[in-house]
């Protein structure tokens, strides 16, 4: 497609896996970079840009521009751990609490206070390191990263500099189908533990700012990726997979809106074939997966355009902010040389020592991770679309697993969950843990329909009641007398009744209006209260309709 498309991903937990909306904006055009793996072999002969540039030609030019360059993207992610207490003190942390109510001398950095490490932080770090296939450092340490800023009470952040707890891993993911699908594997450079700073709010009138220290000292895991991503969608999916992993592991709720998952992206481009990297630009203020996608695509276009215009010296190493409203990146500040954080080992904290037994224990207790689930679902014969949907949310996957482990038909169970059940959850804004339909009952429902006890249509009707009020399938069938009628004699009687009660239509049918079969079928359904087996009904109806001619 030569025209430029502007896509958004909306990732709702319970709708069908990401929907894509394509838009073209007047005047400002964005291209999505094709990843090298999906580029077609044929090269189109490009037209040189014409003087009167129509949107169509302009988009072709932008396409050509971005095709000549390769984007190198790396992501630094901060994951806020869902421990009950902070990293170095016993203050609880609850998002949304009244400001400055969860504080103590330690997290406020008052003189004489000493940090004491929360054992859960190590546990979560090891869990994540293993889940990301990293090598764990059995001996690591904390360091002080020193700088002055109003939200940093101690004047330094306790972090890990040269010996992080985990290094050299990778993450597997599958790109959404509407972006071409495909499997990717991206490297993870390191994972380390550190503490969060407080929250800094800038006041309206501008001459002072405000600090809330509730968040100061909350444990974070920083995940640094290898610069393996090449397009906005790869980067966005990387972030989405990290969210999936941390939620599967239960180490964080991975919420970008709440700030428990924060991503900073580094983007540079280089002409295809060049081995040196281009100048790297950092992008901050990305609050959703779709912003990650769009910001990167914008930045790639911006840099590519500057390159082709001969202005690549205007691409400087800097931090830019993504402006959601304007849909563009803007300069935040130019980097005046690299910051000097004067790292040195944190003298108040001892070495972090892991034993092989400890690590093995955690490894054995890891749940089935998203990648494993996807591969297992694929092997079961589900389509990629089903796989991506079911494995996206750990609770949905568990529900599905519970259903099929009790013997339900795999494809039918997937269809029910992805269709009617997902629609219900979306309408009522419920999670799958909150619906009243239990997996056992879904199994029963599927079996009842498959076995012919009730018709598919009736099944859908009682599903709604089961979702809203619970109860058992057997109970509802009995209570409402829903058993399907499959006795041909009984159906025959009903057909006879309908035919005798509608002589005019019968005549019309015999006269050639065969469409009226549907009318008769409907009438039989009505008197049978929807219980007549449709297939049998139509068979008998047809016989009787054609018999007396």
């Amino acid at each position: 497609m030569a025209s430029t498309l502007f896509r958004t991903i909306q990732i709702h937990p319970f709708s069908l896996y990401p929907t894509a909306i394509c838009r073209r904006r007047n005047g400002v055009l964005y291209c999505t970079m094709k990843s090298t793996q999906t580029q077609t072999a044929t090269q189109e002969k490009q037209q040189p840009p014409k003087v009167k540039v129509s949107q169509h030609t302009q988009s072709k030019t932008l396409d050509k521009i971005t095709r000549d360059y390769e984007a190198i993207i790396g992501i630094e992610t901060h994951v806020q751990l869902s421990t009950l207490t902070k990293a170095f003190c016993s203050c609880p942390y609850n998002y949304g609490s009244q400001p400055n109510t969860s504080i103590c001398p330690i997290c406020m950095g008052l003189p004489g206070a000493l940090p004491v490490l929360n054992s859960k932080v190590i546990e979560f770090a090891v869990k994540l390191g293993l889940a990301l296939n990293c090598k764990l450092s059995l001996n690591s340490k904390f360091d002080r990263k020193q700088y002055f800023y109003p939200d940093l009470p101690k004047g330094y952040q306790i972090s890990q500099f040269d010996i992080p707890i985990a290094t050299g891993g990778y993450i597997d993911l599958d790109l959404p189908l509407e972006f071409g699908g495909g499997h990717r594997k991206f490297g993870i450079t390191r994972v380390h533990m550190e503490e969060d700073a407080g929250k800094l709010l800038h006041s309206g009138n501008g001459d002072y700012s405000q600090v809330d220290l509730n968040r100061a000292g909350v444990p974070l895991l920083e995940i640094v990726s290898e610069p393996d991503m090449r397009t906005g969608i790869e980067a966005a999916e990387y972030a989405a997979e990290l969210q999936r992993v941390v939620r599967y592991l239960g180490v964080s709720n991975g919420n970008m809106q709440e700030g428990s998952l924060r991503c900073d992206v580094n983007v540079s481009i280089r002409p295809v074939g060049q081995s040196e990297f281009g100048t790297k630009v950092e992008i901050k203020n990305l609050n959703s997966f779709s912003s990650i996608n769009r910001a990167i695509d914008f930045e790639i276009s911006r840099q590519a355009l500057l390159h082709t215009q001969g202005h690549d010296d205007q691409i400087v190493q800097e931090t830019r902010l993504w402006e959601e409203g304007a849909q563009k990146t803007v300069t935040m500040r130019k980097k005046e040389g690299l910051a000097d954080y004067r790292y040195f080992p944190e003298p108040d904290l001892p070495e972090v020592i892991l034993t092989q037994e400890y690590v093995d224990g955690i490894r054995n207790s890891l749940p089935e991770l998203p990648e494993m689930k996807r591969r297992r679902y694929e092997k079961m014969g589900l389509s990629m679309q089903d796989v991506l949907f079911l494995a996206n949310d750990v609770n949905v996957a568990e529900y599905f697993d519970a259903t099929i482990s009790r013997g339900a038909d795999i494809k039918l169970a997937a269809n029910w969950i992805m269709g009617d059940i997902a629609a219900y959850m979306k309408n009522e804004k419920l999670s799958i843990n909150e619906i009243k339909l239990m997996p056992e009952e879904l199994v029963e429902l599927i079996a009842s329909i498959k076995g012919g006890t009730i018709s598919g249509k009736i099944g859908k009707e009682i599903l709604f009641e089961l979702l809203a009020k619970g109860g058992t399938v057997k109970g509802l069938i009995e209570e409402k007398d829903l058993v399907q009628i499959v006795d041909p004699v009984e159906i025959g009687k009903m057909v006879d009744k309908v035919l005798s009660e509608n002589p005019k239509q019968l005549e019309q049918y015999r006269g050639g209006k065969t469409k009226l079969q549907g009318f008769f079928a409907g009438q039989v359904m009505k008197i049978s209260k929807g219980k007549a087996n449709p297939v049998l009904l139509n068979k008998i109806l047809l016989e009787k309709l054609n018999a007396k001619s």
Binding site: C91, N100, C104, P150, S209, R342, V352
Partner: protein, 140 residues
């Protein structure tokens, strides 16, 4: 905060970002060799302190005469520690830390600090419910 150490005064420069374009991450390259190479030389091999820069990074304001006055004194302290340069470290593995005890861990059990009012009261500039600070836009 615990002990202050004069390590802060030495001129170590570390790159802050790891998503760098070099093929080998900085931290995997042994960073201490600069000390080791000088192990046979004495005091004059250590770089003199850049007192202006040190004061800047520590956010301590010094008048020019104070800079002049302190520079030799700071240098003396560094050179005194510089005696360690004489130790032959060629066959010694770098230690992570100076102590030998490990683990001092705490269970993940919440405890509210009782006297939060005293904490708030000690804040010099407090505008309920926030700590009031001057507007600072750039980090460092």
């Amino acid at each position: 905060m615990g002990s202050r150490t004069l390590l802060m005064l030495t001129n170590f420069k570390f790159k802050s970002s790891f998503a760098s374009s070099s093929s080998k991450p900085f931290y995997l390259v042994k960073s201490s060799p600069t000390i080791r190479k000088l192990s046979t030389k004495t005091r004059s091999s250590l770089q003199p302190p850049d007192v202006c820069r040190l004061a800047e990074t520590a956010r301590i304001s010094l008048a020019p005469n104070e800079v002049e006055e302190f520079a030799p004194k700071i240098r003396q302290v560094i050179d005194w520690f510089g005696q360690l340069q004489a130790v032959d470290l060629d066959s010694v593995e770098p230690a992570f830390r100076a102590d030998t005890e490990g683990d001092n861990l705490r269970e993940d059990v919440p405890e509210t600090f009782e006297n939060k009012e005293a904490l708030i009261a000690s804040v010099p500039s407090y505008k309920e419910p926030y700590i009031k600070v001057p507007k600072v836009l750039n980090k460092e």
